[in-house]
C-alpha cells in the first residue's frame, strides 16, 4: 500500500555491474534499493528517498549444480521454481517454496528470508543458504559464509539473510538442494468449525507429529479457490487442513495414521488422502492459487504475517474474526498453521470512503493480539516499510539500538535500502516515536 520514488532504475547483468551501480549511486549521494521480481509483501523493495533501484532479474543464470554435494550456485535473479525444475532430473529440489515461487527470485528470497508451506519441517531460506557473494554498501565485494560447515568468526551469512537489502546486494548465492523424499502423502482434512481445525493443528504438533507441511484454509478461501481452479476442496466445510507428510514409507504411513486419528479426534468431517500425484498436485494448486482467487471477491486485500505459538492458535484465530467483525470488515484465512504463521487477509474495496482507516485499525489490533499471545510481527514476509513502525511492539529501545548498530556496521552511511526495517529513533539518542494507532 506504499508508493515510492526512484531516481533511476537499472538492470545489471553481473556482479561488476551491481558494484558499479552502487558506486554511481553513492557518488551522487543517492541511496540504492535492490529489487527482484517485486513480489514482496512488506514494501521492502519500494524505493524511498529517491533511491537508485537495482533490479537483479537479468542475472538469472544457474551457474553450477553439484549433485554429489547437493549445492547449486545461482545468480540472484533465478526464479525459485525454475531452480527446483532445473534440478528435478537429479532427484533434488530447492526446499523453500513461497506461494509466489513461480515469480519470486532467489535473491529476493535471501533478502526476506522467505518461507513457504514446506518450511515447516525443512526450515526457511536461511537454513538453505550456504554462502552469498554480496556487494556491500560501499561498492566492495565479499563472500559471506562458505561451502564448508563452519567459517571462523561471526556468522555474517546468517546476518545478511533476511536483512531486506539493508546490508548490501546478493550477486551469487550457494543454496543447499534437498533430495526428493522416497514417499509422500498429501491429506485433506475437513472440519465443520474453524475452532476444531485450529485445535487439530495444535493437537498434531503436540502429538509429536511434524509434517512436511500443514496448511489451513477457511471456507471463504476454499470457496474462492473452488470457483477459481476447482481443486476439489469440499464446499460444505468451515475449514480444511492440507497436510503433507514425507520421508520413508514406514514413517509416512505412521504419520498418515497419526494425522487421521488426531483429525478425527477433533471432529473432522472427512479425511482424504490424495490417491495419486495428479490429485496431490491439484490440492496444492488450490493452496497456491489462494491469493489469486481472492481477486474475484474484492479488489483489494491487506495481508498480515504474524506468528503465534501453536498452542494459542484457537483463541488467536477466533480473535482475528472477532476483530474483523468489530470493524465491519471481512477476513479470510489461508496460512501456514503448522508453524503458527497466520496470514489474516482483510478484503476490501479502497473506493469505499473511510475503509482504509478500518483496515489499518483492525490490522493493528490483530498484531497486538498476536504479540500479546507470545507471537511476532512477521514470519516470512519481512518488516520492510509496512511493519517498520510496529517494531517497538516487539522490541525495546535497547533491542532496536543493538539492531541499528549492527546495520551501521554493514552500512555506516545508511545508503542500502534506507528507511526500512528499523523505525526512526532506533539508534540510542534519536527521538523515539510511537507509531500512530499503536500502544506500547
Amino acid at each position: 500500500m506504499s508508493e515510492g520514488n526512484a531516481v533511476a532504475v537499472c538492470w545489471p547483468r553481473s556482479a561488476a555491474d551491481v558494484a558499479a551501480a552502487v558506486r554511481i549511486a553513492r557518488r551522487h549521494g543517492r541511496p540504492f534499493v535492490a529489487r527482484g521480481s517485486g513480489t514482496g509483501l512488506a514494501g521492502g523493495a519500494t524505493p524511498l528517498d529517491d533511491a537508485l533501484v537495482i533490479v537483479t532479474t537479468q542475472m538469472n543464470r544457474i551457474l553450477d549444480v553439484d549433485p554429489q554435494a547437493r549445492v547449486a550456485w545461482v545468480e540472484p535473479g533465478v526464479l525459485n521454481l525454475d531452480l527446483s525444475r532445473a534440478v528435478a532430473h537429479l532427484g533434488l529440489h530447492y526446499a523453500p517454496d513461497p506461494s509466489s515461487q513461480q515469480a519470486c527470485t532467489i535473491g529476493g528470497n535471501v533478502a526476506t528470508n522467505a518461507g513457504g508451506p514446506h518450511c515447516l519441517a525443512s526450515g526457511v531460506t536461511s537454513a538453505h543458504v550456504l554462502a552469498v557473494d554480496v556487494v556491500l554498501a560501499d561498492g566492495t565485494d565479499s563472500c559471506l559464509g562458505g561451502l564448508g560447515p563452519d567459517e571462523p568468526g561471526y556468522d555474517l551469512r546468517g546476518c545478511f539473510v533476511g536483512s531486506e537489502g539493508t546490508m548490501g546486494i546478493a550477486t551469487r548465492v550457494a543454496v543447499r538442494l534437498t533430495p526428493n523424499p522416497p514417499a509422500v502423502a498429501t491429506m485433506l482434512c475437513a472440519f465443520d468449525s474453524i475452532d476444531a481445525a485450529a485445535a487439530a493443528v495444535t493437537g498434531t504438533i503436540a502429538g509429536g507429529v511434524l509434517p512436511a507441511a500443514l496448511e489451513m484454509m477457511d471456507a471463504r478461501i476454499t470457496a474462492a479457490v473452488e470457483d477459481f481452479v476447482g481443486a476439489g476442496y469440499p464446499r460444505d466445510a468451515e475449514a480444511v487442513l492440507l497436510v503433507e507428510v514425507d520421508g520413508l514409507a514406514g514413517g509416512v504411513a505412521a504419520q498418515v495414521d497419526a494425522v487421521r486419528e488426531i483429525a478425527n479426534g477433533h471432529g473432522a468431517v472427512s479425511v482424504r488422502v490424495a490417491a495419486d500425484d495428479a490429485e496431490r498436485a491439484l490440492l496444492w494448486k488450490g493452496r497456491k492459487s489462494a491469493f489469486g482467487a481472492i481477486a474475484r471477491i474484492a479488489p483489494d486485500y491487506y495481508l498480515h504475517d504474524a506468528v503465534v505459538p501453536r498452542t494459542r492458535l484457537v483463541e488467536v484465530l477466533r480473535g482475528v474474526y472477532d476483530i474483523a467483525d468489530a470493524h465491519r470488515l471481512v477476513t479470510m484465512n489461508v496460512f501456514h498453521a503448522g508453524d503458527g504463521n497466520l496470514h489474516p487477509l482483510i478484503v476490501f474495496d479502497r473506493r469505499e470512503p473511510g475503509v482504509w482507516d478500518r483496515v489499518y485499525a483492525a490490522g493493528n489490533e490483530i498484531l497486538t493480539m498476536c504479540i500479546a499471545a507470545g507471537g511476532v510481527l512477521t514470519g516470512e514476509h519481512g518488516v520492510g516499510v509496512e511493519k517498520r513502525d510496529l517494531m517497538p511492539l516487539l522490541f525495546s529501545a535497547d533491542d532496536l539500538d543493538a539492531q541499528a548498530r549492527l546495520r551501521d556496521a554493514f552500512d555506516p552511511d545508511g545508503a542500502a535500502n534506507p528507511l526500512k526495517v528499523l523505525p526512526r529513533g532506533s539508534r540510542c539518542g534519536e527521538l523515539q516515536r510511537v507509531p500512530e494507532g499503536a500502544w506500547i
Partner: protein, 325 residues
C-alpha cells in the same frame, strides 16, 4: 519464570568491569584463542519455560545440557545440540558454535536458536530474535551469537527449538561407503563408515539392510583436539592426507564436512591444519594445542567483523583475545 529477573547484579558487574568473560562449565574453554585476564561472569541456570506442545524451550544460558536433556526427555523430546561433554552449558555450546554429530539430519546449531537475551557492555539486557519457531522480525541476532565465543555480550537466556525423540535409533557399520536417506549421522575414518538411523522401527529396520549393527563410534580422543571444516566433497582427499600425518586420529562427518582430529602432540594439530589448508578448509583448535593459534588463518571479512564487534562491544571488554579481530 523469567530468569532475566534479578539479573541486575550480573548487569552491574558487567557494566563496571573493564574486561568480562562469560564462563559456563569450561568444557569449551580452549576453543579458539584463550581470553586475556577478565572478570568471569556466570549466567543463570534453569528451565525458564518449556512448552512441549509447541516444541520450544527457554533456558538460562548457564543450564547444563544434561539438565536440559533430562527435562525434555520427560516429554519425549530433545534438542539435538549433542555436545561432546554433557556437562557443557547451553550458553557455552551456543557461544562456541560447535554443532553436534547429528548435524547431517538435524541441521547446524545456528538453526536451533530462536531467541537470545544477553547483557551488553553497558549492563543493558537486550533481546534478539523471538520465541516462535518462525520469525523474521528484525535482524537475526541469534545466528550472530552462535559461534561468537563470548565476544559480543553475556548470553543469559536462550529459546531453542525442540523435536520429538525418534521412535527408534540405531548405529550401523559398513566397510564400504553408504548413503541412507535422512541418516542422522554418517561418520568415516577412511576405511569404515558408521551410520546413525533415526525414525520408526520399521524404517530403521528397512534402512539397516546390508549393514552391521555397531556401537556408536567414539570421537577421537587426545590431549590435543581440533575440528576441520571443509567442503564435504573434499573429504576423501583430505582423509588421505590426514592418514599421512603420523599419530593423528580422525573421524569425518560425511556429507557435512566436519572432521574431528586428535593427537598426543600439539604439533599434530599443526600438521592436520596444513592438510586442511591444502584442501581449502581450516582447523579450529578445540583443546590443547598449546602455542598453536586457535584459528590458523585470518578471519574472513575481518574488517566487517571488526565493525560488527565494535557495534556490540564498543569498549572491547568481552572475552578479549578470543577472536583475532
Amino acid at each position: 519464570m523469567d530468569l532475566t529477573d534479578g539479573i541486575e547484579v550480573l548487569a552491574t558487574a558487567v557494566a563496571t568491569a573493564d574486561a568480562v568473560v562469560p564462563v559456563g562449565a569450561r568444557t569449551h574453554w580452549e576453543v579458539g584463542n584463550p581470553p586475556g585476564a577478565a572478570l568471569e561472569i556466570r549466567a543463570p541456570a534453569g528451565i525458564a519455560a518449556y512448552e512441549p506442545d509447541d516444541l520450544t524451550v527457554t533456558v538460562g544460558a548457564g543450564t547444563s545440557f544434561a539438565d536440559l536433556d533430562a527435562a525434555l526427555a520427560e516429554s519425549g523430546q530433545e534438542c539435538p545440540l549433542d555436545p561432546r561433554d554433557r556437562t557443557a552449558t547451553v550458553g557455552g555450546v551456543v557461544a562456541s558454535g560447535l554443532s553436534g554429530i547429528r548435524r547431517l539430519r538435524h541441521g547446524p546449531l545456528r538453526d536451533q536458536v530462536l531467541e537470545v537475551r544477553y547483557v551488553d557492555g553497558d549492563g543493558r539486557l537486550v533481546k534478539g530474535g523471538g520465541p516462535t519457531v518462525k520469525n523474521v522480525t528484525g535482524y537475526d541476532l541469534p545466528r550472530l551469537f552462535v559461534g561468537s565465543l563470548g565476544t559480543l555480550g553475556v548470553l543469559v537466556q536462550l529459546t531453542l527449538r525442540c523435536r520429538p525423540r525418534p521412535e527408534a535409533t540405531r548405529w550401523l557399520r559398513s566397510d564400504t561407503p553408504v548413503d541412507r536417506y535422512r541418516a542422522a549421522a554418517a561418520l568415516s575414518d577412511g576405511t569404515r563408515t558408521w551410520i546413525r538411523l533415526e525414525g520408526t522401527a520399521a524404517d530403521v529396520d528397512a534402512q539397516s539392510d546390508g549393514l552391521t549393527e555397531a556401537d556408536a563410534p567414539a570421537l577421537p580422543e587426545g590431549a590435543h583436539r581440533g575440528r576441520i571444516s571443509i567442503a564435504p566433497g573434499r573429504l576423501p582427499a583430505l582423509g588421505a592426507d590426514l592418514d599421512r600425518v603420523a599419530g593423528v586420529r580422525w573421524l569425518a562427518e560425511v556429507g557435512v564436512g566436519t572432521v574431528h582430529v586428535a593427537g598426543d602432540h600439539a604439533s599434530m594439530l599443526d600438521e592436520a591444519r596444513r592438510a586442511a589448508h591444502g584442501h581449502g578448509g581450516w582447523l579450529l583448535r578445540e583443546a590443547g594445542g598449546n602455542g598453536i593459534d586457535g584459528f590458523g588463518r585470518p578471519m574472513p571479512n575481518d574488517e566487517l567483523m571488526r565493525r560488527v564487534k565494535g557495534a556490540f562491544d564498543p569498549a572491547g571488554k568481552f572475552s578479549p583475545g578470543r577472536l583475532p579481530l
